[in-house]
Each structure stands twice: as structure tokens, then as C-alpha cells.
């Protein structure tokens, strides 16, 4: 066994402590993303390709974020949002560049929410994500989308 990895220099201990302190933050964001991908599973089965790129962050209760997306007429899209915070209620709705509700379907169930859009025109759309309720001051969220 390589002893280099077993020695405990003060620097290594500090680095390890720093990593331990940071892990919950990253794990939380990452868990929200995992949940968002899980939320998209039914749509993958329907032939939607889920993008690897994703949005995410943390928001306070009743805070909103507008996520910009370039959508193409002729495609269908599902936007799937999730949080890892138990007891949180979130939602996502899609608007066109004029601020008009553009989704054809949407659902929300606690920590999961999704909205479907079949664009009537190619252009810029906005997914408005909201933390409706949460037991935490800041709630991590993630949003993915799929197309077919």
C-alpha cells in the first residue's frame, strides 16, 4: 500500500476538514439535480432526450428565478424541477418572451414539479421557478429539460 496516502500532515488534515465542511453544500445541490433527473424518468420512457446541461441554485421561500431557454417550434419539451428538501413545495411554469403562459401541461407534487411546452413559435422562453413553501431558509433546486 502506498504510504503517501496514509500520512497525516497538518495540511492534509486541513484539506480534509475543508472538504468535509463543503461536502454537504455540494451534495445538496447535486441531490436536487439527481431528483430532477429522476423526475424526468417518465418522459425519457416517452422518447424525450434529457439534456446534460442543467440549472440550479438556492432560493428563499416565495423567491423566483427566471430561467432562459431557446426553444424550437416543432419540438415538445418537458421542464422538470426538484429539490432535495423534504416538505418543500416548488413549482415551475413556462412563459414566452411576451410574458404569456406558454405551457400545455403542468403538475406539482411537493418537492417535484414539471411543465410541458409545445412552442407555437421558435424563440426565447422563460421557465419561472418558485419555492412556494420550505422548512429551510434557503432551498436548493435544480431544473433539467428534455426534448423530442
Amino acid at each position: 500500500m502506498n504510504r503517501r496516502f496514509l500520512s497525516l500532515s497538518p495540511v492534509r488534515v486541513l484539506v480534509a476538514l475543508a472538504v468535509l465542511c463543503l461536502t454537504p453544500l455540494y451534495a445538496t445541490v447535486d441531490d436536487a439535480l439527481s431528483f430532477a433527473h429522476e423526475c424526468a424518468v417518465p418522459y425519457v420512457k416517452q422518447g424525450f432526450t434529457i439534456r446534460e446541461d442543467a440549472w440550479g441554485g438556492d432560493l428563499g421561500v416565495k423567491d423566483q428565478k427566471a430561467v432562459t431557454a431557446q426553444l424550437f417550434k416543432g419540438n415538445e419539451y418537458w421542464f422538470c424541477m426538484a429539490t432535495d428538501v423534504k416538505g418543500a413545495v416548488i413549482n415551475v411554469h413556462i412563459y414566452d418572451s411576451q410574458g404569456r403562459l406558454a405551457e400545455s401541461e403542468a403538475w406539482q407534487k411537493g418537492r417535484f414539479a414539471a411543465a410541458k411546452v409545445v412552442p407555437r413559435a421558435t424563440g426565447t422562453y422563460y421557465a419561472i421557478v418558485t419555492i412556494e413553501k420550505s422548512p429551510q431558509e434557503r432551498t436548493h433546486w435544480a431544473l433539467v429539460y428534455g426534448y423530442r
Binding site: A27, V29, L33, E52, D53, G56, L101, A121, T124
Partner: protein, 283 residues
């Protein structure tokens, strides 16, 4: 902001996420789809009330998002859009980043053409170019997966792997502090994708096909990324200057309600010239 955390190689926490909660979550999502009823959202909102900090940047679409629409509109000659020569690596990092983007876009074209040999060749080329910008390690697994899935003719999976390769390259470059260079990979892909889009629409014009060029926010986003480059050397690179000029020249054309056949051909000429500059040895 946080988007950077979500791209590239995921934190190790994802790896230890046990399977059981995943299955439960999947079942819950299925239940939610079937049973959940959303509260009625407002029919209109005032987007101008969103402060800039509350608006996330646009995600750059992958070429296949456009290509599958073209497939629905007609029967494009995808094989005719493939290039024999994918370009020359000049050793200039900005050129390699842009070239890598064009090559990944060619991967999406090869998927539409269902040309597994070309996809495999592109998978190898991605690896070679990634090596040129020190991110080979990040795409080894993807490159193998692209080859395996092309062999199996699992085209949807190849699309996902190409998208993943793009994210992995960008993520690895961001980790190396090369996030500005990473943007050029996306730009290269967009330019090559737009060249192919305009070639196909130009050959068989329809307003529905031309409407796919309506991408004003994406264009603004790319222009902002170049304008805000911290590295003056990168910003002054001949190719980067050319790409910035391309965005400026295209802007009055893209974003109109009706894009004429003449304008489609104009965008094709502009993007073809830029792709030629990216792939040429003269940089």
C-alpha cells in the same frame, strides 16, 4: 452561478446515492405525473420586473434539438452535410476549442445520417482535440461510449453521449480555469450547427424551417460572453475577433419574424466562411 456546479463531472456524492431511493423517487414521480394537479399560474407575467440577478443565462441548445425539427419538416440529406475533413489542429488553444465544438456538432449530423463509422471517427477526433486542451481524461469514457453506442446504432444514446461529451469538456475546462475557452466550444458547435441548418433550409426553403433561426437571446448571450472575456489575449485572437464579427453580422438577420431565403443564404455564407477559418491550417 450555480449552473457551473451542475455541469461537468458531478461531485462524488452522486456516486454514493443508493439505488433504492432512486427507485422510490421514480415511482413517486410516476405517481405525481398521474395524480398531481398544479395550482393555476397567472396567464401573463411582467418579465421586466425580474431583476437581472434573478434571470439565469440561456442554455445553449445542442444541434439535435434543431436537427430533429428539420427531420419532421422534410427529408434532409444529412450525409451530404458531413465533411470528409474535420479540420486541422493548429496548436492554438482558441482554435482547438472552436474546432472541438464543430466536430461535436458533426457528431450530431452523423447521428442524423445514421452513419456509425463517421460517428466512431468523430468520437476519436474528440479525444485527440480534447488532448490538445488538456481535457482528454474527461472525455475518454464518453469517447468509448460514443463508439459503443454508434456500433449498436442506438442513436438516441449517441445524442446523449455527444451532449455529455460537450458538458464534460466544458466542465473540465472550467475546473482548469479555462471557462472562457470553454465557451468557445459551445460557440463552435453553434456555428457549425447553424451552417448546416441554413444549408438544409436554403436548399428547400420553407418559412417554418427558416423560423428555426429565430435565436436572438442566444446570439446576445454569445456576444456577451466574448465582450466580457477577461483574457485580453483571447479576446484579441484572430478567430475570436472573426466569431464576434459573425455574431454582429448575423444579428440583424436572426430575430426577425420572417426570415427570407436570401437571408438564410446570407447566414449560410457567413457561417461557412467562419467554419472554414476555424478548420483551416492558416490560423
Amino acid at each position: 452561478m450555480m449552473r457551473a456546479l451542475l455541469t461537468g463531472n458531478g461531485p462524488s456524492a452522486k456516486l454514493i446515492f443508493p439505488m433504492l431511493p432512486r427507485l422510490i423517487t421514480t415511482a413517486l414521480c410516476g405517481f405525481a405525473v398521474a395524480n398531481a394537479v398544479a395550482e393555476q399560474p397567472p396567464a401573463t407575467i411582467d418579465l421586466s420586473k425580474f431583476p437581472a440577478a434573478a434571470v439565469e443565462d440561456v442554455v445553449v441548445p445542442v444541434p439535435s434539438e434543431i436537427f430533429i425539427v428539420l427531420d419532421k419538416l422534410g427529408t434532409p440529406n444529412w450525409k451530404g452535410e458531413l465533411r470528409d475533413h474535420l479540420g486541422t489542429n493548429t496548436g492554438n488553444r482558441a482554435q482547438i476549442a472552436l474546432l472541438l465544438g464543430t466536430v461535436i456538432a458533426d457528431g450530431f449530423i452523423a447521428v442524423e445520417a445514421e452513419d456509425s463509422e463517421k460517428v466512431k471517427q468523430i468520437g476519436q477526433e474528440v479525444l485527440v482535440l480534447a488532448d490538445g486542451i488538456n481535457v482528454r481524461k474527461a472525455v475518454i469514457a464518453r469517447s468509448k461510449s460514443i463508439t459503443d453506442k454508434a456500433e449498436a446504432k442506438d442513436w438516441r444514446a449517441v445524442r446523449s453521449e455527444l451532449d455529455g461529451a460537450l458538458q464534460d469538456v466544458r466542465g473540465a475546462m472550467q475546473e482548469l480555469g479555462d471557462d472562457e475557452l470553454a465557451q468557445l466550444v459551445s460557440l463552435g458547435g453553434w456555428i457549425r450547427g447553424t451552417q448546416v441548418l441554413t444549408s438544409i433550409v436554403g436548399q428547400n426553403y420553407s418559412p417554418a424551417g427558416a423560423e428555426l433561426l429565430n435565436q436572438p437571446e442566444l446570439l446576445n448571450y454569445f456576444a456577451r460572453r466574448i465582450d466580457e472575456m477577461r483574457s485580453r489575449n483571447l479576446k484579441k485572437e484572430e478567430l475570436v475577433v472573426k466569431v464576434r464579427k459573425l455574431l454582429r453580422d448575423i444579428k440583424p438577420i436572426i430575430g426577425k419574424d420572417t426570415i427570407t431565403v436570401e437571408n438564410v443564404q446570407k447566414v449560410n455564407k457567413l457561417t461557412t466562411d467562419t467554419v472554414t477559418a476555424i478548420t483551416s491550417e492558416d490560423q
